[in-house]
């Protein structure tokens, strides 16, 4: 194996083409992963802000909070279930907000419970605002937003990050939301959409509180989101294809390298190398090249995401990078091992004559 590493160090130029190709593929993987996570996060901020609580929805909503309408009295009933610590309302409606005439699509959220992400609900006439809105329009704490068709004025008390729901979110107290939502859609009486429950009660226990209720964890509700699922599967598919291309690039490179080295391998076999010694050497070279490509690719990929406009939903998630790094190295080793059959066929007797 150390012979293979010496070759890598002393004939680095030979490995440069595959290093460049793999680095570019890693950059692509990093950017695709950033889009996948960015799109997912930008859609699900309202739900993720609820932490590890359970959501209770109307059964006919198929776990889509925006389609849910809780029957009256549900929140009070849930509060009586054993193991329930807190129950709060959570509702959303899409509308617009303007700042100094600059109109933006927003999602108005009504809530009762503070979380690790969210402060206590603001008082009437005030709003907690998604920091994403500040990226799009010139708004600061203390400024006034005109929300909805009636241009209801809300004063910004604070900004919170990572709570977007496709559009930036504006968070008001649940009672205020009911009043504002009626102005957004005057033809339908605004109704609380979901209840957020903390404590030890299971989703099944909570769903059994009343007829026509369903309950699920935040993760399950996110997983049931059609938009998130479609985006995720699309990007996962592209990422998968990129890994296949990486595998083919590495395999092709090492096949060509092996063809070039037939004589050398015959000599090494003749003087006592086992096939597994040669394969281990190739695998070591593949791991070293892949590791370098991962470092360069992640560095360049992160640099690239910093250059894109802020309205593009790109998020670098360390866990995603770790998975990409390990998968790239594994794929490189598998690609290198594609030459195993060729190496097995090399006859040591070819070293003589």
């Amino acid at each position: 194996m150390s012979i293979a590493i010496r070759e890598l160090r002393r004939r680095f130029g030979q490995f440069l083409p595959v290093l460049v190709a793999m680095t570019l593929l890693v950059v692509l993987l990093v950017v695709l992963g950033a889009f996948l996570d960015g799109l997912s996060r930008s859609q699900t901020g309202v739900l993720r802000a609820q932490g590890d609580r359970v959501l209770v929805l109307s059964d006919d909503a198929d776990l889509a909070p925006s389609r849910s309408r809780l029957p009256d009295g549900t929140v009070e009933a849930l509060a009586q279930v054993d193991g329930v610590e807190e129950v709060g309302r959570l509702s959303t409606v899409a509308t617009t907000a303007s700042v100094d005439g600059d109109v933006q699509d927003v999602v108005l959220v009504g809530y009762d419970l503070a979380t690790d992400t969210l402060p206590e609900p603001p008082t009437s006439g005030e709003a907690v605002v998604d920091a994403k809105l500040a990226d799009l329009v010139d708004v600061e704490e203390g400024d006034t937003l005109a929300v909805g068709p009636d241009a209801r004025e809300l004063t910004v008390t604070t900004f919170v990050g990572d709570v977007s729901a496709g559009s930036p979110t504006i968070w008001v107290a649940a009672d205020d939301w009911l009043e504002l939502a009626d102005t957004v859609n005057p033809t339908e009486r605004a109704t609380t959409q979901a209840a957020v429950v903390s404590g030890d009660a299971t989703p099944d226990e909570l769903a059994g509180t009343g007829d026509g209720l369903a309950a699920a964890t935040v993760d399950d509700v996110i997983a049931a989101d059609d938009v998130v699922t479609q985006q995720s599967s699309t990007f996962q598919g592209i990422i998968g294809v990129t890994f296949v291309v990486t595998l083919l690039v590495v395999a092709l490179f090492f096949v060509l390298l092996t063809i070039e080295r037939v004589r050398l391998y015959a000599v090494l076999k003749a003087i006592g190398a086992r096939t597994r010694d040669l394969v281990a050497g190739l695998a070591a070279q593949a791991v070293a090249v892949a590791a370098l490509a991962v470092v360069l690719g992640i560095g360049l990929g992160i640099g690239l995401t910093l250059l894109v406009p802020p309205d593009l939903p790109l998020v670098i998630v360390p866990a995603r990078l770790a998975v990409l790094a390990v998968a790239t190295v594994v794929v490189a080793v598998l690609g290198a091992l594609g030459t195993l059959r060729r190496i097995l066929r090399i006859d040591p007797a070819d070293a003589i004559g």
Partner: protein
């Protein structure tokens, strides 16, 4: 016991509907410290016999024993181990590893099969290069050495694991007559000094006198000179 005993060894190759007999029931033995010269025209089977003796190929029939080890009985990894530990090869086209220095080419033999390069191995490599007149060239890669120097590094590599049998294929083919004779004299000295059995295949009649015994091969069969 001879270092190498070849008993009725035969090697056939299929060629279309015909069968080519490259080695035809050859009997041969080489003792420790004996330097045997194998000569003959092209296509006479010399190289094939060398591959059989070097555990690089198996005979169609017959027996080849290295000391008391029957080479035909060995499996793949066992054959690799025998080639690594008990046989030294000097190839016609030298075949050094191009990206390793002279010293590293010798040490590579130790590394194959998972062996470690320790202080003793380094000392032995340096000593061999010194004996072969390459004391100051250990750090040079093959491209930085002359043809004769490369051939001497190849001899050092063949001797690195202190083999029982040295197999040398046309060592003078790429060298001028003076340098070629020097290389074979060096081989002769190493055989004497180490008591290793050696078979040298050559066309070069100018060096055959350095062997203890000359065996001619014609049409796959041996003709003792």
């Amino acid at each position: 016991m001879p270092a190498l005993t070849i008993d009725k060894a035969r090697k056939e190759f299929p060629s279309g509907e015909q069968t080519i007999v490259a080695v035809d029931d050859v009997d041969l033995s080489v003792d420790d410290g004996e330097f045997l010269v194998l000569e003959g025209p092209s296509g006479s089977g010399k190289t094939t016999l060398l591959t059989l003796a070097g555990a690089l190929a198996t005979p169609t029939s017959g027996s080849i024993r290295l000391g008391d080890v029957e080479l035909g009985d060995l499996e793949g990894n066992e054959r690799s181990a025998v080639r690594r530990d008990r046989i030294g090869f000097v190839f016609q086209s030298v075949n050094l590893i191009p990206f390793l220095s002279a010293t590293e080419n010798l040490l590579a033999v130790r590394q194959l099969g998972g062996g470690r390069v320790d202080r003793d191995a380094r000392d032995r490599a340096e000593q061999l290069l010194e004996e072969l007149g390459l004391g100051g060239r250990g750090d040079n890669v093959p491209d930085e050495l002359s043809g004769g120097q490369r051939q001497r590094v190849a001899i050092g590599r063949a001797l690195m694991n202190d083999p029982d049998l040295l197999l040398v294929d046309e060592p003078t083919s790429a060298l001028d007559s003076e340098l070629g004779r020097q290389v074979v004299e060096l081989l002769r000295d190493e055989v004497d000094r180490r008591g290793v059995a050696a078979i040298m295949v050559t066309h070069d009649e100018r060096v055959t006198d350095l062997g203890d015994r000359i065996v001619k091969m014609v049409d796959g069969a041996l003709v003792e000179s």
